[in-house]
Every structure is written in structure tokens, then in C-alpha cells.
Symmetry: C2
Subunit: 239 residues, 2 copies
DNA sequence: CGGTGGATTGAGTGGCGTCAACCTGAGTGG
DNA sequence: CCACTCAGGTTGACGCCACTCAATCCACCG
């Protein structure tokens, strides 16, 4: 199987063989983390970044009273904390949602890429820009959409992102997130998330049994969520 | 006076004389925009980016019903849409809040920097990473803080950012934003913003007369807002 | 001196929070 | 094979934060 970051970036621009080669050999080791385990601590300064080979992770920011906000969900091929290459110290925690296999890449290797491989540098830069673009979309859905549309929007996004890396098809995917975590991502209470999930089920906008989410009619869900996939930059361009 | 982007980046790492020279000569022209004018349209694909030399701008995303969410405020030295260098098409609008003087930089110039000036490339990358870090902090304040703390947090952030580019001192700054715009940034209604502003005034956490905001006791405001400036990356580091 | 954008206020409503209980299914150990 | 545990999902009662609608006030300006 192809390297997940190569597939992910390859959806946005063509990578040369040499560039693919560099990415394939960039990791110095592969670590496994258990579900719930902290992968990167807030306030830490590391000299490597983590790329997901398997599993789901999230970026969390804690408040003083113990509540938290999830600012991103990450899946196969995501370079979760690539920004820690330049941003120090980390402004948030990275937590494994499921068991995760992560490729660890030294910052010195990233730095070497920026010194000698301008196009590949731009592609890595791009991947952090897409993260930022998703942050902006989340700001809109969090700030302005009612809770049901907000959840629907998140499901549209995750489906397309998963589909782009081959982890979803036929409008169905494995969603290993509890309603409690979902509440932290949507800025809601657990109780209200539960009611909103039931509403979407009742309206036949989604099905969700166990860990599997299904979307009976993607266009209807998109319309309901005012979802426009432009911000995911899923087009091949010269970059 | 020094070039504002040089001051901004210089707060995060040392720039060589050659790098400063490149930034100073990077603009192909300077444009002026009137207050309220659209600087960059959503959905457009331009071949240049804009750097603020004077004034305030915002990034806006519209909903179908005409409501909008502001995802960022930008001030002197901010490279507002540098990400459009790699991200196409634009996922949001850029609007002038006040009259704005903008330096226009061709993407071909940025690309040339990525080909030949790795450290400067990293510094430009850094500036987009700081934007993303601010987005994440906004997600937390929007999702989890009550409205008064949310507003207080925004005021702490803007004060420090303005102070870092010499546009604020002595805990006072010009804030040329109407309560309507503030509502769009905070994800609130105009009416409620008004009540929240009055609450902060009543509690003597801020003063706000005309366009000038004052902070009588920054530590109290920080505490009230749970504000921690780490995410602004205002420290000089090797990057 | 009327027009206009922005700030302010009041009344009524509803989305979402909190608290507290209860249900369900998967895993575990006797 | 069944009692027990426990995480996660579900439900009800009740209250508040923030919304909508609508009016009014104020400063500035042509």
C-alpha cells in the first residue's frame, strides 16, 4: 500500500518520484499509542512530529475547570503536529482517540527538506494551510450554525476526508468517537449532542449504529449543513 | 520607520540583512482600500497576496442567509492572505474594516523565496502557522467560554498583538470595530454584544469610549478571560 | 434640520446547559 | 452461565444565556 501522506498530498498536486522517496524514508521510527493516550503534551517542545499511519487522533485544548475543546480530528495521512516544527511550545495536546500507529519524523529532517526541496516544502506548508482552512470552517459552523447543522457539517467533512485517503466509500464510515468527545468538538454538552444525534437519525439524515455512520442521501445532508467542500482543497493544482 | 512585516517576524526570530532586504522590496505596488471595501473575494484565485501597511482588515465567511462569521482580525504587518499562495480558490473574503493601505506581493515572488531562501520561507510559513494557532484559540473561546470572557479574551489578544507591532501601549488601543462586526467575530447577536460590553464596563474590566479601548488592570482581565499568551508565539526562537 | 449608522433598552422566546436518574451492551470473574 | 461492573447512551425536569423583534436614543454630517 502507498504511503498515506503521499496519497494525501498527491490529491492536491503531483509529487515527483524523488519527493515520494524522501517522504517514504523520512520517519526515524514508528510508535504505537493506546486509545486515550496522550501523544503530545501541551506546553512541550519536541524535536519531531507525528504522522498518522493508523487510527484517529484529536487536538485538545483544556480549560482550567477541566472542560476542553477539541480543535481538530485527525485521520490516516495527517501530519498532526507538523506545526510544532516552527511553533514552540505546543499550544495544545494531541490525544489518541483509538489505538494509533504514528510515524515519527525528526524536525531536522523537515528542516533539511526546507533547505533543499522547495516544492516538497510548499506541499508540507500546504498541509498545514489546509488544517488552518478547516479551523476557519469550524469557526463558522461553531459560531453561526445551529447544533444539528453543525453536526451534519462535521459528518460531511469527515466523510470526504476519509474518502480522500481511501478510508470510506459508499457514504459510510467508521466513526470511533463517543458522544462525549463529540460534545467537546462541537462545543456542546453531552446531553444535547445525544438529542441532536437522535434528531438527525429521526430525519433520516444519518444512520449511526455502533461505530458506523451512514449517510443515506449525501446531497440532502450537504444542503441541511450548508456544506461546501471547497475549503478542503481536494483538487490537483500547481502549488 | 521599519517595514511592519520585518518587525512582526523579528519578534519571533532574527532576520538577516539579506532577508530584510528581500521583504522590503517584495511588493510590486501599494493599494488603498476604503473602509468596508472587499479586498479579496471568496472563491477568487489571485496571483498576489496582501500585507497590511495601515488599517484593519477581517476575514469573513458568509452563510446563505446573509449572516457571516469573522474568522480573523488583521492589523499592521499581517500578511492577510498569504495562504492564497498555495490554497486555491480562496475560502473566505477579506474586507477592509478601516481605510487600508496594502502592499501587494506577487505569488511568483513568494515562490522565488521558497526556491532560494529556506529560512525566510520558514518565517513566512511561521506567520501562517501563527494565524492557525489563533484560529485554534478562537475555537476554544467560541466553543467553551461564556460571552463576557470570550470578549475579554479577544481584547487581551488584540492588545498584545497591537503592542507587538508598536500600535498600542499603556494598556490602551484604538479599536475601530462596530458592535455589529464584533458580534460576527464572537458568534453573537448585536444586542447581546452590547449587553456584554456594558457588563465588562460595569465590572471595570475595560473602558471603551469612541474607538478607544482601555484596560485598567490587564492581570484582572487576563484572569477573567483565562488568557494565556503562549499561542501568539511572541518569543524569539531559532526557527 | 432631517438623515443615517451605530448604540442602547425592553419584552418575550427558545436553544442548550445542568442535574440526576436510568438503560444498555460488552467484558469479566466466580 | 450468570451476576457484576462500567463506559457510554438516553431521558426528564427545570433554568438561564443568548436570540429575535421592535423601539428609542445619540452623534455626526450634509
Amino acid at each position: 500500500m502507498p504511503h498515506p501522506l503521499i496519497s494525501k498530498l498527491g490529491r492536491r498536486d503531483r509529487l515527483s518520484d524523488a519527493e515520494q522517496q524522501i517522504l517514504e524514508t523520512s520517519a526515524f521510527s514508528v510508535h504505537t499509542f493506546a486509545a486515550g493516550e496522550e501523544i503530545v503534551a501541551e506546553g512541550s517542545t519536541s524535536d519531531y512530529s507525528c504522522l498518522i499511519l493508523e487510527g484517529w487522533a484529536s487536538r485538545n485544548k483544556q480549560l482550567k475547570d477541566g472542560r476542553q475543546q477539541i480543535t481538530a480530528f485527525h485521520i490516516l495521512g495527517d501530519f498532526v503536529d507538523l506545526h510544532s516544527f516552527l511553533l514552540k511550545p505546543m499550544d495544545h495536546t494531541v490525544v489518541a482517540i483509538t489505538a494509533c500507529k504514528m510515524a515519527m519524523v525528526k524536525h531536522s529532517v523537515v528542516k533539511e527538506i526546507t533547505e533543499n526541496h522547495p516544492h516538497l516544502t510548499r506541499m508540507l506548508w500546504l498541509s498545514t494551510l489546509i488544517d488552518a482552512s478547516i479551523h476557519r470552517e469550524w469557526l463558522v459552523t461553531l459560531g453561526r450554525l445551529p447544533a444539528p447543522a453543525h453536526l451534519a457539517h462535521l459528518i460531511c467533512e469527515l466523510y470526504l476526508r476519509l474518502e480522500a485517503v481511501g478510508e470510506a466509500k459508499d457514504y459510510s464510515f467508521v466513526f470511533p468517537v463517543t458522544q462525549t468527545l463529540l460534545a467537546d468538538a462541537l462545543g456542546l454538552s453531552t446531553v444535547h449532542v445525544n438529542r441532536v444525534v437522535q434528531e438527525l437519525r429521526r430525519e433520516k439524515l444519518i444512520s449511526w449504529r455502533g461505530a458506523r455512520v451512514g449517510i443515506p442521501n449525501f446531497d440532502r445532508l450537504k444542503l441541511f449543513a450548508e456544506f461546501d467542500p471547497t475549503y478542503l482543497n481536494l483538487l490537483v493544482e500547481q502549488r
